[in-house]
Each structure stands twice: as structure tokens, then as C-alpha cells.
Symmetry: C2
Subunit: 592 residues, 2 copies
């Protein structure tokens, strides 16, 4: 169960599928010229293979232990975390003013895939710290930044995001944790949060919690929520650690997967209330949370890509080694490796194709988010922000759906061995499951796509993207390369389906919102397979144009995706446009 | 996590979707008039709810223990098994001459769904005994039957099926276990079998193992395999239990799911070899195994249906109870149950629709297998046998795919709670995973469908079935019932896709077998969604015609399935017919 980061694939995807090279060339990345990209990723791959991958199974088997409010992580984990921060991996895209390397989010996205592939439960910890950094950097006071930001950027301390409560999950506005202002300007927070990832652990001296709470007399719902920074240990004036704050892990969950990542119930107020510091303004907590949601959601999408790639690598190795049966027409004794069987080839190609498509969608999202803050031109920034906003729910939901589906196929390729825990394929399958749920369930992502992103500017973001994808398809058609097979025609059909469906949804959204909502999930899938297919085709064209050593593999993969997967688009169109009445008439069935 | 057998749905599916009522009316079931069906199923439902369902979680948590060759099952399991046999549930479809009730397989199929829904790891044990009964009844000597058959029919002893070895899984012909004939006519068997379900346990006094082994000088491959009956305890002349036979559980697997079902490594020969009795003739073991494969594969398909229904019931209950957010347009305070949200409705309808389709396909298979042995007319029997053979791989693979997909959605409906083991949704997800693998992986089923079943008689079985389905669709169209929406048109499209794809496969099968094999899995899916959609439409028509109290729910479900799921057929057609080259050209990608 080794892992090797697929650097060649990643670079092609990043530079060409996601458009990093073009954006750099256009000057949208400022000083960053892309020269270090390959070297950074090679090093990340080494660290992942050497340090993180060997701990993946250990973490799953040992899990974590909670005793008297203290969490012990699996053997080797605290040490690996020290090596991680010492090597500077936590700081890749952090702000330079606070100890970060200031590299683009796109580079960090590729790194996040690599961490997730090697050890998704480990990678989840810095992923949340990253969100905390973003919130603090954007909305925190200078004083708070001085004390906490560098610690978070370097990873000396980790961050948590605390939204969920027993009655406030997808509906975060229902939360009840209370905050009261003190005469010294700090706040006292009391309440209980659940499902808090890495809410308590033994890998760092301190943990910086970012907690949503409600002030007395705050308006109801999401308009009355404020964001607070609550350190596990208070920090003294001399920056040394002070008193233990009144925020404790009172329970940990027994989960299907991600065993090594502590999922805590956090209790505040047993000793009078946790001391917290306001981030941003009172009642503006949701705005602060939204700031960092794009990045967090993209991060979870990359977890999907990472787990998928790990599952693929393991299944591919097994299929080359395991011998059962013979290739069609083969005579003589002995069995062939199962990879000779077309049904196994199909599974592996599906795994690889879907992983590659999800990867490129995630990276494209990262490039858009980068350009939205790095480009000089305001119009370029605004367009990129719209693109990033549009792609984020797709990156999150499509990639994590794919993570689950690929891990499922990974078990299947292993046959009976796949069901045995020692094989390791089942761990990927279990670990992947939560990615479709947290940071907003994939249903929530689909609704976000349809209700907020698609209609944000009358669909302009979608039409612009479709035009770009259409140009790629034209190039495929113009290439006349027989290795593309019917890729051009298949993608053309898919684009047509996506365009018609988008228009239908925009129209229904105004006229009968429940019709649009009924089709949200299949629409996101339709978007994902179409976009993914076009990006892979674009990468194949780039591989040809750049004289890559093996453009055939990218041509063959793009072709497989178009002919095998992107062909779902026309059926998905029907599911969206023809079945809203059936969905919304469900009560006759469900409540009968 | 209660379970209530959906008797109304089951009866409609059995009698009308699967055609039991018509077959009984046509006289193909002999004396059986169907009067007892409802009463038997009601009782099965009660037993499942009262005795089996409460042990499902216990079994998952406790698992089993192996100590010095002895397996201890979870608390309450041996007692539940005694109650099970005492109530006669093991004997439902067993031969009357040996203590069985001689009820149709179709009735037992509905029972199997119910056992699997309430406790799939428990139901797996009698499922294997059933296969053992079938093999012994069809191929065993009268002497062996006298000693063993009644014990197996009543369930006083359980049976195992032992095919798999470390190097012989899907390729069973590669097995190495050796058998040598003794002067007394018995055989001595030495070797190791893996993945043996309920190979050892503490629920009965004796276990009857059915073991595939190879005689010295037997031909290579599947032509040199013989089947042996190997009792755990030998049976004395007076029918009392004698010496312990040389077959022991030397290990148990640590699995993703089905924790309560012991999956054993069985070792024979540490004490000179296990004493075995030949079933059928030497070197005819594969024929004997094939006899029972239809039923065993159907049984696993029903596990898929059962787990799916359990997952659905749990998700439905949660969606009615859990409150988050508000319905579109609703004003005022308070949250609505999440079932008001279209995306949740869609998930639940998908769960229910897919479960219902898989159920009807499995029951239709059971009816065909019944008629193939019960009908008076030889032509009717032969046609039914062909139908049963055709449907079996679809029943197995489609239903277990659906079991996994529905359990996945079951977790999703629960949101974050779904990932927590205590919720129970994750158990269904874990348990379901093996059903797509054992009794022939779903890939093997697809290959069986394409290479053996589709072409068995030049496609005649398929064309006959398509004609029947087409007649159903005509009735839908003729009904002009607006509640059907576009069901007729959608099913018509699906039937067209299935017919064209079947023809394409038959042609390729002869010309380029690897092209046909590349499309096997999507073809089985295409077959499943089309057949399932038509069966559900037929049930809705029957519900209307019979003046069922609530035909609307069946109309609405059939409509949802046609408009939401059966629409995949045309895309699946493209995947099969347009992507063989991409699949078979995979080496450029996979081995690059």
C-alpha cells in the first residue's frame, strides 16, 4: 500500500487542464512564474510517501483515545506532525507577512491532494487550520493576528472550525451557543458543539478554536451569529501559554472511517464560560464563515481526489499482480493477471478517468480563486471570483462523489480480498464516505450551485465557461486525431445538454423553485461530467502540443472519459428537466 | 432502527410484477394456489421484527470470536437460531419428503428479503444451507440424503459451500484441495479453503460442509473437480454424532461488514485428512455446483434488496423526524422535517424506487425458477428455465449494486449522523459491500449475462422478454393516466436502447468478444433499469386494475423510476456500443 504522487499527471492538470500556465503567462499571478511548481510537488510527494503514507493504516487501526478531556492520537502521529511543520508544509500558501511562503492556492491544492492521498485523516488537520488562517487574516484585528496568525501559518498551533450543534447542522442559523460581552472587551462563551474535527489532540501545545455563537438580543437565524476566536490555552502578554481556557472535549465519535481524526464534542462553560475574542463585527459571523468556505470546500473536494487516487493506485497494483483466468483466446497453462480482462480494465479506467476529471476541476477552482485575488485587473479579478464561486460547489460535491465511487471500485477490483480490512482497500472506502457530507453535504452544494451560483449573474458565468469548453471541443474536432475516437462528438452532446439544462433551471428557478431544487443533484453531476470531460480533452491537446513523451495516454484517457462517462450527460438532462413533478409528488409514495 | 416488512409492496411485486398470480392461474404451480402467501409473509415479518432485527446491531458490535478452533457467535444468536428452526423458517421451500414445507421458491424469496432486511448476517447462514440442500437433493445418493437431508432442511444442522482457495477465487478451476479414495468408498480430503461463510459456529451441533476438491490424475481446470460432503462430526449408524472430522476453522477474517457472520479459513488434513463422501460422480463437481448457483445467486440478490429496504426505512424515519431548514416559501419560526426538501425527497424516492425495482426482478427470477420445475408442460418448463437463467445474473448484480447505492444514500440522508456508527446507517453500508462480490462478483455476473445467457438461444430469451415488457408499456400508454406522466415514452426509449444494445452485443460477441466483454457491466445495468422500470409500471397497472386502496403510490413510484432512473438507458447504450475500443485500449493509460 505504497503511494506515489502522480507528478506528471498533476503538472499537466495544473498547468493545462486548470489553466495555471496560461494565467501565469497572462500576468495574473504577479511575481509567481511557476518555476518552483514541479520542485515543490516532488518534495511534497516524497514527504507523503515517506512520512504520511506509512501512518495511514496505523491511524485507522489505533484510532484516537479520549481520557479525562485529553486526546491521544495514534502512534507516530505527533512526530509526523512535527516533521510536517518543520519542513514548512503547513505554510505553503500562508501569508508571507506571517511566516508563510505565499505560494498560490493552486500549488497548495496539488499538495492537499497529495496529503489526502497519502493519509487523508492526517491531512484533514492542516486543512482546517488553513480555514482558520483565512478567517483570521481576512477579518481578525491586528492584535489577534499578531498573537495567533503566525502560529497558525507555521502550524505550531492548529485551528478548528466550530459551527455544528445537535440541532444546527445544515441549518447553521439554528445554533444556540451563547456569548456575552465582558467589561474587558472579551466575551464569555457557553454551549456545546458537535462533530468538531481535531477539537482536541496531542500534536501541538495549543489549539485555536473558531466558534460561532449568538449574543444576547441578537437577531434570529444566520443574521445573529458572531465568530469568536477561543484559544485552548490563553496567551500571556509575553506570548507564553497561560491559563487553560474553559473549552473541553467531552466526547469523541465512533465513526465509519477517518478513525485517526478525533471528532469531538466540545463543551464550553463548565467553569464559567470560555474566554473568546470577536472576529470581525458582532452578528457578522456568517460573512466571516463564508469567506473561508470556498477554500474549505475546495479542500474537501481535494480529499476526494486524493482518496480516489490512492484507491486507484492500490487497485492497479493488485490487478497487475493477482492472477485469475486467462485473456480471451489465450491457450496454454497458467493464469493471467486480472488486468487483461476487459471488465477489470473498464473499472480501472473509470477510476483513473474520474479521478483525473475531479482533479482538474478542483485545480481549476484553485486557479480561479488565485486569480480573483492576485490579478492586477479588477475585471479579471471579478470574473475569476465568479468562476471560483461557480466551480466551488462542483469541485466539492463532484470530487467527493467520485472519491466514494472510485473507492467502491477499488474494493471491487480486489474481489473478496477487498472486504478484508487488512487489504486496506476498505479503509479508503470508509474514509471517503464523510467527504460527501461535511463542509456542506453534497446536496447543499448542488442547491448552492443552482440557486446562488448559476443564477448569480443571469447565468453569465456559466455561458462564459461553456464558450471556453466549446473552444476546446472545436480543437479536438479540428485535430482529426483518430486516437480521440468520438470524443469531440460526445463532448459536443454533453455541452448541449448542459446548456439546455442550465437554461431550463434558470427559467424554473424563477417560476417554480422546487422544480429547480428537485434537479439540483443530477445537474451538478451533469456539470461535473461535462466539465471534467472537456478539461481532460484540453489536457490531451496540450500534451500533444507540448510534445509530452506520452501524449497517447492522455488522449486515450480523455477518449475513455468522453465515450464512457460524459455520455451520461444527455440522460442526466432528462432526469433534471423531466422528473421534477415526480420528485415533488413524492409524498404520495413516501408518506403513504 | 426497527424494521417492518413491507407486506403490501411485497405482495404486489410478487403477484403482479413477478407474475406469481398469473403463473398460479395458468396452473404452472400445481397444487399451490397462493392462498397462504400473505399469511406466511405476515408471520415472517413478525419473526423478523421481533427476533432478528434487534440482533442486527448486537451482531455488528460483538462480531464473532475464534478460540482453539471454536467460533462463538454474538450474544443471543444461538438462541435466535433455535427459535428460527423451531418456527419452521428454515424449511419453507425444502422438499416435503425430508421435512420441508414444499412452498414455492418465490415465497421463500420474499422471506429471504425479509430475513436479510432484518439481519443480513444472520440470514446468510440459512441461505448457504439452502444451497447445500439443493446440491444434496439433486445429486446426492439416497444413503447420504437419508442421513443429512432432513437435518439440513429443518436447519438442525447448517451447510457450507467451500469453493474458494487463495489462488482460486473467480477462477475456481485453479483449486488445489486434494481428495483420495479409500478402500471403504469414502474419500480423504486435504487442503485449505478460505472465505468460508459460517464454516464454524456454535448455533448447531453439527455442520455439513460441501467441499470442492481434486482427485489424483483428475483433468486440469474445472473438468477435474469433484464435490464432497464432509460433516464436522461423523454420523454413527444409529444417527448419533460420532468422531470429530479433520476439518477445522484455522482463522477468521477481520471484515468491513457482516461482522456477525464468521468467515473462516478451513483446514483439512492436519490429522490425516477429512473423511468425505462423493456427491454425484467424480470430476462432475462443477455441474453439481452450477445446479445450485441460480438459487444462491438469487439469494444474494435478495440480500441486496433486503439491506436496501432496511436502509430506506431508516432514512425515511429520520427524514420525517430530523428538522433543519424550511420548505421553500414557508414563513414563520421553526424548522421543517428535512423530508420537505426536494433534494431529500429525491434521495428517498431513488432509494425506494431502486429497491422496488430490484425486488421485482429478484421475485420474477424466483417465479421463473419455480415454473421451470413445477409446470406440467415441458415447453413451459424449458422457457421458464431459460428465463430464470437469463434473469439470475441481473437479479444478483443489479440488486446488490442497488443495495450498495441505497445504503450509500441512507448514510447521506442522515448527514453527519450517518457517519457515526451508533446511528446504524453505516452498518447497512458496510454489510452491503460484500454482496456485490461473493457468489461471483458482479463483473462475473455481467460476463455470464453477455456470454452465456444473452446468446444462449440466439437471443430468443431476451426477445421474448422484451415483447412482454413492450406489452406492459403499451398498456401504460393506453391507460392515458396523467399520473404516469411520461412513463410510457421513457420506458419505450429504454426498451429500444436495450434491444439495440443486445443486438450489437450478439454481433460483437461473435466477431470480437473483447468488445462485448468491455460493455458487459453497463449492459447489465441497462437491462436492470429497463426491466425494473417496466415491472414497476406493470405493478402500478395491476394496483389500478385491482382497486388497491392506494394505486397512486405505485403510479407515482413507477413514474419516478421511469423519469428519473430508466432515462439512463440511452446513455448506457452509448457506453456499451461506443466505448469498447477505449476500454480495450486501456493499456496505453494503465501501463504507461
Amino acid at each position: 500500500m505504497t503511494y506515489r504522487a502522480p507528478i506528471t499527471d498533476i503538472l499537466l492538470s495544473l498547468n493545462h487542464g486548470a489553466g495555471l500556465a496560461a494565467a501565469v503567462k497572462a500576468g495574473h499571478y504577479g511575481d509567481f512564474d511557476g518555476d518552483v511548481t514541479a520542485a515543490v510537488l516532488e518534495e511534497a510527494g516524497k514527504f507523503a510517501s515517506d512520512v504520511l503514507a506509512p501512518l495511514n493504516r496505523v491511524g485507522d487501526e489505533h484510532g484516537i483515545k479520549l481520557d479525562a478531556g485529553k486526546v491521544t492520537t495514534a502512534p507516530g502521529w505527533p512526530d509526523a506532525y512535527q516533521r510536517w511543520t518543520a519542513a514548512g508544509w503547513n505554510a505553503v500558501s500562508g501569508p508571507e507577512a506571517f511566516g508563510g511562503q505565499g505560494l498560490p492556492l493552486a500549488i497548495n491544492a496539488a499538495c492537499t491532494e497529495i496529503w489526502s492521498a497519502s493519509n487523508v485523516a492526517f491531512g484533514l488537520c492542516p486543512l482546517l487550520t488553513l480555514s482558520a488562517i483565512e478567517a483570521l487574516d481576512a477579518h481578525g484585528s491586528e492584535e489577534l493576528k499578531k498573537i495567533y496568525l503566525e502560529k497558525l501559518v507555521t502550524g505550531e498551533w492548529t485551528g478548528t472550525m466550530q459551527l455544528t450543534e445537535p440541532n444546527a447542522g445544515s441549518d447553521v442559523g439554528a445554533l444556540r451557543t451563547r456569548a456575552e460581552k465582558q467589561s474587558d472587551g472579551t466575551y464569555r462563551i457557553k454551549g456545546t458543539k458537535i462533530f468538531i474535527t481535531y477539537g482536541e489532540h496531542d500534536m501541538t501545545d495549543n489549539i485555536v478554536h473558531f466558534v460561532l455563537a449568538r449574543l444576547p438580543y441578537a437577531p434570529a437565524g444566520t443574521k445573529g451569529i458572531s465568530l469568536f476566536l477561543i484559544p485552548k490555552f490563553l496567551v500571556n502578554a509575553d506570548r507564553s501559554l497561560g491559563a487553560r481556557n474553559d473549552i473541553y472535549a467531552s466526547g469523541v465519535e465512533h465513526k465509519l472511517g477517518m478513525h485517526a481524526s478525533p471528532t469531538c464534542t466540545m463543551t464550553m462553560g463548565d467553569q464559567g464560560g470560555a474566554i473568546g475574542y470577536l472576529i470581525g463585527e458582532e452578528n457578522q459571523g456568517m460573512r466571516c464563515m463564508f469567506t473561508m468556505m470556498n477554500q474549505a470546500r475546495l479542500g474537501v473536494g481535494l480529499e476526494g481526489v486524493g482518496v480516489a487516487d490512492r484507491a486507484y493506485q492500490q487497485a492497479l497494483a493488485y490487478a497487475q499482480e493477482r492472477r485469475q483466468g486467462k485473456a480471451v483466446g489465450k491457450k496454454g497453462d497458467g493464469m493471467d493477471p486480472i488486468i487483461v480482462h476487459p471488465d477489470v480494465k473498464r473499472m480501472l479506467m473509470q477510476m483513473r478517468g474520474m479521478t483525473a476529471a475531479a482533479r482538474s476541476i478542483c485545480y481549476a477552482t484553485a486557479v480561479a480563486l488565485d486569480v480573483s485575488v492576485r490579478a492586477k485587473d479588477a475585471k479579471v479579478r471579478a470574473d475569476a471570483a465568479a468562476r471560483g464561486a461557480l466551480l466551488t460547489p462542483i469541485a466539492k460535491a463532484f470530487s467527493t462523489d467520485i472519491g466514494n465511487e472510485v473507492a467502491y471500485l477499488g474494493v471491487q477490483v480486489h474481489g473478496g480480498m477487498g472486504f478484508i480490512e487488512e487489504t486496506g482497500a476498505a479503509q479508503h472506502y470508509r474514509d471517503a464516505r464523510i467527504t460527501a457530507i461535511y463542509e456542506g453535504t453534497n446536496g447543499i452544494q448542488s442547491i448552492d450551485l443552482v440557486t446562488r451560483k448559476l443564477g448569480a449573474n443571469g447565468g453569465a458565468s456559466v455561458w462564459t465557461l461553456l464558450d471556453e469548453l466549446s473552444a476546446t471541443v472545436k480543437q479536438v474536432e479540428a485535430s482529426n486525431d483518430p486516437a480521440f475516437g468520438t470524443t469531440g462528438a460526445k463532448l459536443r452532446d454533453a455541452l448541449g445538454a448542459l446548456e439546455r439544462t442550465s437554461k431550463w433551471l434558470l427559467e424554473r428557478l424563477a417560476a417554480a423553485p422546487n422544480d429547480a431544487l428537485a434537479g439540483a443533484t443530477p445537474y451538478l453531476r451533469l456539470f461535473g461530467v461535462t466539465l471534467g470531460g472537456c478539461l481532460l480533452a484540453g489536457e490531451a491537446l496540450a500534451a500533444k502540443a507540448n510534445g509530452e513523451t506520452e501524449p497517447q495516454r492522455y488522449l486515450a484517457l480523455a477518449r475513455f472519459f468522453a465515450e464512457n462517462i460524459a455520455v451520461q450527460a444527455t440522460s442526466l438532462e432528462k432526469t433534471v428537466t423531466d422528473s421534477a413533478e415526480a420528485v415533488n409528488g413524492a409524498d404520495a409514495v413516501l408518506l403513504g
